[in-house]
């Protein structure tokens, strides 16, 4: 549960205007590292992820009990304030003075319209770190284009780098660039905070999701730039292979393994597959041992990497026959006992229920949520000897931290706070405290 050991970002305050997935992923991690994240919304147009996914048996959907939203925004506080009023903007200007980081994921013009562009933020707080996450960044000919994670994935080239040889792109089965742009933006904030710790200087980080995709495209981009060749013209991507039969690289996976593939295992389910990579001669000898040194494998043409690459179709056929008779975890264990890289294709359920490693490391944390009861949430994938990175059971229930922020962070008087309440600057008139949602996104 909640830790007592200090976290590295304790004392760092983040003013968080982000919404959807990319920006909130960044601030989720900043919160996990100890920052106080104040998520700013207005109930009439709250973060759409609040109504993205509910518990399967949820009868009463509200803006506060979306389970996907809770998982994505664990550890944050919530402030509701009307930014279409001068009084609301005055609250925000006061907060900028008390914060270390301002984070947003709007299009380029929104903060400018509020009178809070980088220059204005710097006037309020000279050492502010201002980070924005958008599709293309805030300048250039594409700067005003409309994108979501999948749009950025297509544009950046990483969708095209997923798929079977000669087939249409398979792309990514989720908004990978929302998740990874969140990670990269968090790295940017940490980098800027380190410089600020040393020099006192603030920073402006103008993150583009397409550029995140470019930075994750792998060495194929360099090869293409050096050789002038188009990747898709020469069989890239090559499905699950690392190299084509002629030995040319089609996977950019950091190995030139052959065979390299996902093989159907017993059961016939859509995730009944086990992957194998034979990255060197040692793996090949171990694979033969694990299979009981069958006659087909004692072929001198398979003894070197070039031969295995050239004949990987034939090897695949034999390996597939061996796999088809085994459960995916049984196949994986048999191969791993001999040191062969092998891994079952794991679904969401597999990772939660069938993965002894994730269970042993406690990656799914059970936390109490005031509207959801005890639920499991995705944990932080690293540990530290000095900081406890367990998720903290803090939830941005809409407006729940208004009084804390106004009174304790800003030091407003009771009169000022009640005036803001009375003027409906902090909550829209006529909207119930826990707004009901008719239809969820997923």
């Amino acid at each position: 549960m909640a830790s007592t050991s200090p976290r590295p970002l304790a004392g760092t305050r983040v003013l968080d205007f982000t919404w959807s997935v990319a920006g909130p992923t960044m601030t989720r991690y900043l919160a996990s590292l100890g920052a106080e994240v104040i998520k700013v919304e207005w109930p009439r147009n709250a973060d759409p992820m609040r109504s993205a996914m509910y518990l399967g048996d949820e009868q009463h959907k509200t803006l506060n009990n979306g389970s996907f939203f809770a998982n994505l925004n664990v550890g944050k506080r919530s402030l509701t304030v009307n930014l279409r009023t001068e009084e609301g903007l005055a609250v925000i200007r006061d907060l900028v003075r008390e914060c270390d980081v301002v984070a947003e994921s709007f299009s380029a013009t929104v903060l400018r319209r509020w009178g809070l562009d980088h220059a204005a933020l710097q006037q309020l707080n000279p050492s502010i770190v201002y980070v924005s996450v958008s599709g293309f960044g805030h300048n250039g000919p594409h700067g005003d284009k409309n994108t979501w994670g999948p749009t950025a994935q297509a544009m950046s080239g990483i969708s095209a780098m997923s798929g079977e040889a000669g087939a249409p792109p398979a792309g990514w089965g989720w908004s990978y660039l929302d998740v990874t742009s969140g990670y990269m933006a968090a790295l940017g904030v940490l980098t800027a905070l380190i410089r600020r710790q040393r020099t006192g200087e603030g920073a402006r980080l103008d993150m583009s999701q397409v550029e995140v995709g470019i930075s994750l495209a792998g060495p194929g981009l360099l090869e293409s730039a050096v050789t002038g060749g188009q990747l898709r013209r020469r069989g890239v991507p090559g499905g699950n292979r690392s190299v084509a039969t002629d030995g040319s690289v089609v996977g950019y996976r950091g190995d030139t393994a052959a065979p390299s593939g996902a093989y159907r295992t017993r059961g016939g389910g859509e995730n009944d597959y086990c992957t194998v990579s034979v990255a060197d001669d040692g793996h090949w000898r171990s694979l033969k041992d694990a299979l009981g040194n069958p006659a087909w494998a004692e072929n001198p043409r398979y003894d070197d990497p070039g031969g295995r690459a050239e004949h990987q179709d034939a090897i695949d056929t034999k390996l597939a026959a061996w796999m088809a008779e085994r459960d995916k975890y049984e196949a994986m264990d048999t191969l791993q006992r001999r040191g062969v890289p092998a891994g079952a294709v794991q679904s969401g359920r597999d990772r939660v229920e069938n993965d002894p490693q994730l269970r042993s490391r406690g990656i799914f944390a059970e936390l109490e949520h005031p509207h959801l009861g005890t639920q499991a949430f995705e944990g932080v994938p690293f540990r530290s000897s000095t900081s406890d990175y367990e998720l903290e059971p803090r939830w941005p229930l809409l407006g729940a931290d208004n009084d804390y922020v106004l009174t304790e962070v800003l030091g407003y008087s009771a009169e000022t706070v009640s005036r803001l309440h009375e003027q409906h600057i902090l909550w829209p008139e006529g909207v119930p405290a826990n707004p009901v949602v008719e239809r969820s996104l997923w």
Binding site: P6, L33, N71, F136, N139, G140, K145, N146, T147, W148, A152, G157, S159, A160, G163, E164, P168, P169, A170, W174, L187, G188, T191, L193, I194, R198, D206, M207, S208, E211, I214, S215, A217, G218, P219, G220, Q230, N240, V249, V250, R253, G254, S260, R264, E270, N271, A279, P341, G343, A344, Q346, G348, Q357, L358, S360, A376, F382, S384, S387, W442
Partner: protein, 409 residues
Amino acid sequence: MLEGLTVLELDDGLAEFAGKLLADSGAEVIKIEPPRGAPGRAVAPFVGSTPDRTSLQFEHYNTSKQSVVLDLTSEADRILLTRLAARADVVLDGLGAGVADSLGVGHTELSAVNPALIYCAVTPFGCDGPWAGFAATDLTQLALGGVMASCGYDDGADYADGTGYSGAPVAPTGGHVKHLVGMMAVMATLAAVLELGTSGRGQFVDVSAHEATAVSTEMAVPFWLYQQREVHRHTARHAMPARTPRWQHRCADGKYLLALPLYIDDARFAALVEWFDSEGMAEDLADEKYRRSMQREDHMFHVVDVIGRFCARHDSDHLFREAQARRLPWAPVNSPDELLADPHFTEHRDTFVSVPAHGGVHLYAQPPFLIGHGTSIRPAPRLGEHTRDVLGAVLEDEYTTDTPARQQV
């Protein structure tokens, strides 16, 4: 940004993207390589031919680093590594769980000479647990981490080109396990650097590639945790528990367009219908039943079929411009190399940096959080290029700073 931070990288491949991000952000990253060179130097693709060939895989992941050769099986070189660690801020260890310990240069030994040291172990499965010793590659980790269960095809028969691809799981190419664990390793390391700045304490950080991958698949795990439903693979769109309409369409020029049919409000949809209608291709989309999003959602398979037929008649670039002029969140499915010719990235933003390197000019993407900061990227080092300079500086420094200390004793 990270000038003044010194990092030692001991790595067999898993930690080198983390080291690259730190080095390209200004940290001094010293890659410790065995006399035969880091394993990545032998990984294709290559330019040139043996024995002078250069691995582009290595060049890509080792920009801005220095190379120092040490033979960690030799006592003398282990002492030199310890001396380097005494002056470093961070050790990035990607050798595998327990390997540095068994060589006698693990966290215990190095933190003994430098209590402020941040020691970051980057391993396939973490430093403990039943799979800690398992062999791993990018492919097997994409399988175990859940990426492959969400990526692939569901509509092979729908496409006319007869490629015969199946509904099997697909592992995206490019080295994403290294990328995911690398980002997490940098996150944990930079957090530790910030803490060091206030507490003066070093720490041991244990980063697992398996965990980094397993928590990065967005809805797949939440769907199981909260609804006990599994997602199914869908071609070039989100894996979901239910079937959804297509997002990707083949255009007249042979390229594909990602025509996201989500988040299109009624005004944008009206603009789409007007556009299609101006070319006589709106079919029945002007019908009242499509006008409001609540009703339109019940007919999206048909709406998307009409979009597909429109795309088939136009080039992808034309569709991109015209769709975006109507605020539709659509984009062509580019090959990464196509961006090298897009002025948005090459002229208006410093997305790419040209680096004079061995055998020609290389283009590299900047760390995406430092665009606009004029970061400089240096070419990957030749094997041992910095051994003399780095070790010489250590020995000279120790001589001058050790002398008064000895006199005190």
